[in-house]
């Protein structure tokens, strides 16, 4: 990569860390460190909410998905605006009004300490591991592209993030998120503009070709419990998933708890309701445009350069033969695509339709050779090649004008760092508030808790980096933890729904939570074909039903209105 691109990356890193150090000045107490003294404007919190959700996996993986599978993934987000509106009138006023530090703290006021501790512990367990995978995903891509040792890639992403998160707390995290969202959106828009300018055929013809391959098919109205990307899975399952994520996951709840008021907290969530689907559609469209670009420019046979090198070394003759066939197929596909565009330009509908049929045949032939290459890569390396994650990095490094590769790399770092910083900040909050202060040392000074919070953030950062470094060998363990995490996501939402029902009681909440997790685990193992999106619906409904049933046999419960803040309880 050209040195100017590296300068852009270095400037981005220096600005983010320097800004984080600057924010340490306003952070002298624990409320400032974790909640910015509840002083942040809605637009900054809103951008922070979006930046937290948009990780490097979204930027790299979703673009690749757009290139190979088209726009239908956007259906996954159809429930998000609905969830944001529901949260705006239900959980947000409860949590913000209760002046809590963590979402789980509210559960102790409403129910009892065991429900609070269990939900907070489950959050720490799943998010602690997932934080490592958030670093690992882009680090593995960087290592493959630049040939770096994985430890260096993890350090490049993890260390600057840990520095500004430890020193600046939520102030640094939020204001860094604002800048990071600007970098991410600027990179996406710039790449889309370059792709449009470099399209060798009119856009209308190019989109017709993409449509012929099914990549512009957005809506699938079939009702299926096994397919994740359908309209109904997105609307129903997606709403429950987004309610769980934005309503009960501390990494998101903490963003809007730092807002100035309930109204500003609501507005910050509505920013996602407005912009998430258009932004996600734009990222997927960028992938479709990259697919179109590579119809007229020969793409690599394998996008993952590390795997390509290993296959070339292990099976040189077979790979060379495959590449020769690939080059031939690409050339005929290129000609077929240009013929479609030419005939469409001449308004020859019948001719264009026939040419489209020829194009589809050649596109299928290219697909067959790609499948053979991917099988070879898996055979030689013994790993799933995850080639889709390398489509946009290869395109950016091989084809973008000077400086734009640096901007894209900065955007990937920004996407990764914004998600990691929010995770570290929230992991530390739950550790200190829900465990250290609640069970170990309830009567410490603010200065003491501030020091412990910084140490806790640093320790979680170190843990995440270690998990990321060993992600390849810990693969199955991480999968187990992620699967375990999916057992309780919807169930925790069920507990918060119970908290808003007057006749729900502490025993009902605790045993309802256990019943919900058990049911989801049973469904997950017994009916593995059911999409994970439905697990959240099953978990939440079970918790509410079982919780209310058990509550009938209990005495009076706690208040459901936002309680007056009590430091001793926090």
């Amino acid at each position: 990569m050209h040195w100017i691109n590296w300068v852009i990356v270095a400037v981005y890193l220096v600005v983010v860390v320097w800004d984080g150090l600057r924010r340490t000045r306003g952070t002298t107490n624990i409320e400032g460190y974790f909640l910015a003294n509840r002083s942040l404007p809605w637009w900054a919190v809103g951008l922070s909410v979006m930046a937290t959700q948009l990780s490097a996996v979204t930027l790299i993986g979703t673009t690749g998905q757009g290139a190979t599978d088209g726009l239908r993934f956007v259906q996954f987000y159809f429930g998000l605006p609905i969830a944001m509106v529901i949260l705006g009138v239900t959980l947000v006023p409860f949590l913000h009004g209760a002046k809590v530090y963590t979402a789980y703290e509210y559960l102790e006021r409403r129910f009892d300490p065991r429900t609070r501790s269990l939900t907070s512990f489950l959050f720490l367990l799943s998010r602690g591991m997932s934080c490592g995978t958030i670093i690992a995903a882009p680090a593995v891509v960087f290592s493959a592209i630049f040939g770096w040792d994985l430890t260096w890639s993890v350090a490049l992403i993890g260390i600057p993030t840990i520095i500004y998160t430890v020193l600046g707390g939520v102030q640094a995290v939020t204001w860094a998120d604002v800048k990071q969202m600007v970098v991410i959106v600027a990179a996406i828009v710039a790449i889309v503009v370059v792709l449009l300018l470099r399209m060798p055929v009119p856009l209308d013809d190019a989109l017709a070709i993409a449509g012929a391959t099914g990549r512009l098919r957005v809506f699938d109205f079939s009702f299926s419990l096994t397919d994740t990307y359908t309209f109904w899975s997105g609307i129903l399952g997606g709403t429950f998933l987004m309610l769980s994520y934005f309503g009960t996951d501390q990494s998101q709840v903490q963003r809007y708890l730092a807002a100035r008021s309930v109204d500003e907290a609501r507005s910050s969530l509505l920013m996602s309701a407005y912009w998430k689907i258009p932004l996600q559609a734009l990222i997927l469209l960028m992938g479709v445009l990259i697919f179109l670009f590579y119809l007229f420019q020969p793409p690599p046979l394998l996008y993952n350069p590390a795997h390509e090198r290993r296959v070339v070394a292990a099976e040189p003759a077979a790979y060379a033969a495959l590449q020769e066939r690939y080059a031939g197929s690409l050339a005929t596909r290129d000609r077929a695509a240009r013929e479609v565009a030419r005939l469409r330009g001449l308004d020859d509908a019948a001719g264009a339709a026939a040419a489209m049929g020829v194009f589809r045949e050649h596109e299928a032939a290219v697909g067959v050779i790609r499948t053979e290459a991917l099988s070879a890569a898996e055979r030689v390396t013994g790993q799933n090649s995850k080639d889709v994650n390398y489509i946009i990095p290869r395109f950016v490094l091989d084809h973008l004008p000077l400086g734009m590769a640096g901007l894209f790399l900065a955007a990937v770092l920004a996407a990764a760092m914004s998600s990691i910083a929010a995770e570290l900040n929230s992991l530390s909050t739950a550790t200190v508030i829900d465990f250290y202060k609640r069970w170990y040392r309830p009567e410490g000074s603010d200065a003491h808790y501030l020091k412990v919070s910084k140490v806790s953030t640093a320790l979680w950062g170190g843990f995440a980096c270690v998990v990321a470094t060993y992600a390849a060998t810990l693969g199955s363990l991480i999968e187990v933890v992620n699967r375990f995490g999916s057992f309780f996501y919807g169930s925790i939402l069920g507990v918060f729904l119970l908290a808003m029902i007057r006749r729900a009681r502490a025993g009902g909440a605790f045993f309802g939570l256990l019943a919900g997790m058990g049911t989801v685990a049973a469904v997950s193992f017994g009916l593995p074909e059911i999409s994970f999106l439905w697990h959240n619906v099953i978990g939440a409904v079970t918790v509410v039903a079982v919780g209310l049933m058990i509550s009938r046999g209990e005495g009076p419960g706690g208040p459901i209105e936002p309680a007056v803040h009590s430091r001793g309880q926090a």
Partner: protein
């Protein structure tokens, strides 16, 4: 403005923007997909 009507107004705005986004995606699909 009372909270209920403010909420209705916000809900209407969110739904309108989503309807426009979905209509655009629908147009893209119906124009370019067989």
């Amino acid at each position: 403005m009372p909270p209920a009507s403010r909420f209705r107004q916000t809900l209407l705005r969110v739904l309108t923007i989503q309807a426009v986004a979905l209509a655009l995606l629908w147009w893209l699909q119906s124009r370019y997909t067989d």
